[in-house]
Symmetry: C2
Subunit: 481 residues, 2 copies
């Protein structure tokens, strides 16, 4: 997305100059409430005039916003403020802001903006930009917006939308600049100057032999540093890092990070250039991915609008509540098996949640380590056996150690050596089970092609709660009753 | 860090060509075990020869690795393999790999490498690079490495280390390229060609009036697209995005993302250029930050070595175990208050963990939403009141709804209407408490300058467990006994 240096406010960044706009929005709210009533008194007439003044001032301030800043502002406003600002933005700014705002705000804005306005805005976007937000648009609006594009752009949009969501293909852009190995640098510079607009984040040109077969890349710095009569193939880097359209976007983002790339060619199986990836896209992808994962772990969607209506906020949590109630009910059925035991030794009711809870907590540590290991490619079939053995050994050591401690504390509280032994053994066993569940849940999720973090914690907590209750009360029934 | 295109293997990325190296390492292991015994038989002598051959092959393959790939490889190896590869790397590759490897592996490698070798490697790093890994180095090694630098570099290193860990100052680099507004583009290009080496990720030059006062930036693309006799001040962008050394690195990283920056000047209060930020550094920072936060949430350090020794792995979890046992013990003390109640109505023991658990789960949803809102600057004093009211209202709606459902299920199980009512009311109250704790814990942590996600979940679970037990058993004692 184009960010125009000139459009930025003087001397620093937007977030440091936000206050005047928020202040105007605060007053806007106040006088709007007044204006809703009939302007009966002179005082209220005056208020309406002040309101006008504020509105003019607000429009003036919003007019100079660029798209990134507009999106940043929209993301932090309540629904009524969001609408006011959204309606005041210039068309091309509003259009580009759609690429930058959070998924939640985009979802709500698309829902509430009528199709005609939406279509007018989308004229300002090219095929790459349209494909970025396509999944948020109603099918008919997307179809009409596509019809507004040139034929080549239409084709690109179709191709782009045909790739799976988290693939490189869905993120690559069309705007590669191709040069031939036999051109002189002067010829390249002439072609470069002839371009209408330089694509964003263009740090290198792709060197191809007809038709589009990649043989190297030519960094702009090389173009600047070598004499103009030099040939491209003398100056280019011959073996650049490349990507393929069907590979996982997260892997690609990690490669960008590792190789410190700004842009890179996407090639097909014959090494023909089919698109370009930029660090900007990769950074956005990673942020959305991380954010989405953090919310998904708690059963929420990244599209949950912080400022949305209360009922949709309540509804957004029902699935998670339902899953949790179901697993909690199931886990406590293990307690129900031992109600007689509890009646004869009520201290067990007090101590059993501790065994369950300590299992859940250490299991989640194991999950965190394995999820990181999987994400960073640190785990493979060579070292998996070692890692599993290590994790189980740790759980035995810690289970023995902290089980004894827990047993000791239980003895101090209840003076019953039997309870202490049960407590110690149950803790040890539940920690071993927690480690096993903490290893195998993320591995199984990853193996099935899912995000290893998502849902792992629910499964784990169910296992450690059930087994915590079952082992503790079971041992107590067997040994003490 | 420099990644040399030529050093990359032909046609694709390192992670796709990893298998031969891993295979050699696997064999290495096997024949080393054999070689440890005396080579008595001809067969074993042959094995030793094969071993030699493998070693030569391995060295050959490691020799062409660049630093990023070497770090990637080291991150996934077990301790013995890690040592073998580390000892075989060329000095300058090993040195630069230290900048790229995970904190956990860096910690272990610094610990085990003797000071002399370490010092020899560090000669290959400049002040910026040294400051990146300074916190991992022993004080005496750092001091000696510093002494090897030129005077200006030494000063820079000192200044860099004087900034707090998560500030822009600690991440900025020294390698700005400054031009004057009155120079012609041809003069700039001449100066650009005269540089010994172009700094990484240099997409723009900084335009300054003496002494170092920033007046604009000159993108390389502008340099290429305008005639050579044009003056810099006609072509430059006058109001670039800037950063200050004392601001938070995470805010800076978000601004990089928002404005799609590749590099940006860091200025002091008089707008004098004091350093440069690059997208590469910001991306690394964000990754480490996210990774560290995910582990810290489970009470683990980012320096936890997945492949480290078992005992240190066990020890790494003691603090968390200790905290969790303490809070679990405290929370269950609320159960102990009501043991008489449980004896007379044992179903309560089975149902009480459900009330506690559903509170913990919904409270964690609230934390996830508020942590994201705080990280993305979506929450401010204008909308906080709205958000708090909304969240509490959601908890009342969901508490009433799911409380009734839970009460219904409890009635089906136990046929006791009293228990059902207690269950419903306790669920409602605990969800309200969970929402309140889920809002105020991250806000309080953020207000005190801490990471709002870290520790929030522990506090929340303690509150929802204690209150879940207390309210449920308290109401039961009051109404049913």
């Amino acid at each position: 997305m184009a960010v125009n240096g000139e459009a930025l406010n003087n001397s620093s960044r937007f977030e440091h100059q936000l206050e005047p706009i928020l202040e105007l929005l605060r007053r806007q709210k106040l006088v709007e409430n007044l204006a809703q009533r009939q302007a009966q008194s002179r005082a209220e007439l005056l208020e309406t005039l002040v309101h006008r003044q504020h509105e003019v001032e607000l429009r003036r301030k919003l007019k100079i916003l660029n798209a990134a800043d507009a999106a940043y502002l929209l993301d932090m406003l309540t629904l009524d403020q969001r609408w006011l600002v959204w309606s005041m933005l210039e068309e091309h700014v509003a259009a580009e802001a759609m690429l930058e705002m959070s998924e939640a705000v985009l979802t709500s804005i698309v829902e509430e903006t009528d199709s005609n306005r939406l279509l007018k805005l989308l004229i300002h976007l090219d095929a790459d930009e349209l494909s970025e937000i396509a999944e948020f648009l109603p099918a008919d609006v997307l179809a009409s917006a596509k019809a507004q594009l040139e034929a080549a752009e239409q084709q690109w949009l179709e191709a782009s939308l045909s790739y799976p969501e988290d693939s490189v293909g869905s993120l690559m852009s069309r705007d590669s600049f191709l040069v031939s190995p036999n051109q002189s640098l002067d010829e390249v510079i002439a072609a470069f100057r002839a371009m209408e607009e330089v694509p964003e984040q263009m740090d290198k040109l792709f060197v191809v032999q007809k038709p589009r077969h990649l043989v190297g890349v030519l960094p702009l710095t090389a173009l600047l540093r070598h004499p103009g009569d030099e040939r491209v193939n003398k100056v280019m880097q011959p073996n650049p890092v490349t990507f393929s359209a069907d590979e996982d976007a997260e892997d690609a983002a990690h490669a960008f990070e590792r190789y410190d790339l700004i842009s890179a060619p996407v090639v097909d199986e014959n090494r023909r250039v089919i698109g370009r990836l930029t660090v900007e896209t990769m950074m956005d992808y990673l942020r959305e991915h991380h954010e989405g994962a953090a919310l998904a772990k708690e059963g929420l969607s990244a599209r949950t609008d912080l400022f949305g209506p209360v009922m949709s906020g309540a509804r957004a949590r029902w699935l998670w509540l339902c899953i949790n109630l179901a697993t909690a009910f199931l886990a406590t059925r293990f307690i129900a098996l031992f109600e007689q035991t509890i009646i004869s030794l009520v201290a067990l009711a007090t101590l059993m949640p501790i065994v369950a809870s300590v299992g859940g907590n250490t299991g989640n540590q194991t999950i965190a380590l394995f999820v990181r290991g999987l994400a960073m490619d640190h785990i493979n079939r060579d070292n998996l056996r070692f890692l599993v053995m290590k994790e189980l050994l740790i759980s035995v050591i810690n289970g023995a150690l902290w089980g004894c401690l827990l047993g000791g504390v239980a003895f101090l509280l209840y003076g019953n050596p039997g309870i202490s032994v049960v407590m110690a053994v149950a803790t040890l066993l539940n920690l071993i089970i927690a480690a096993a569940a903490g290893i195998f849940t993320p591995l199984a999720l990853a193996k099935s092609g899912r995000d290893p973090a998502m849902g792992a914690s629910v499964v784990l907590t169910f296992v450690t709660d059930s087994m915590g209750f079952f082992i503790f009360l079971g041992l107590a029934t067997w040994w003490l009753i």
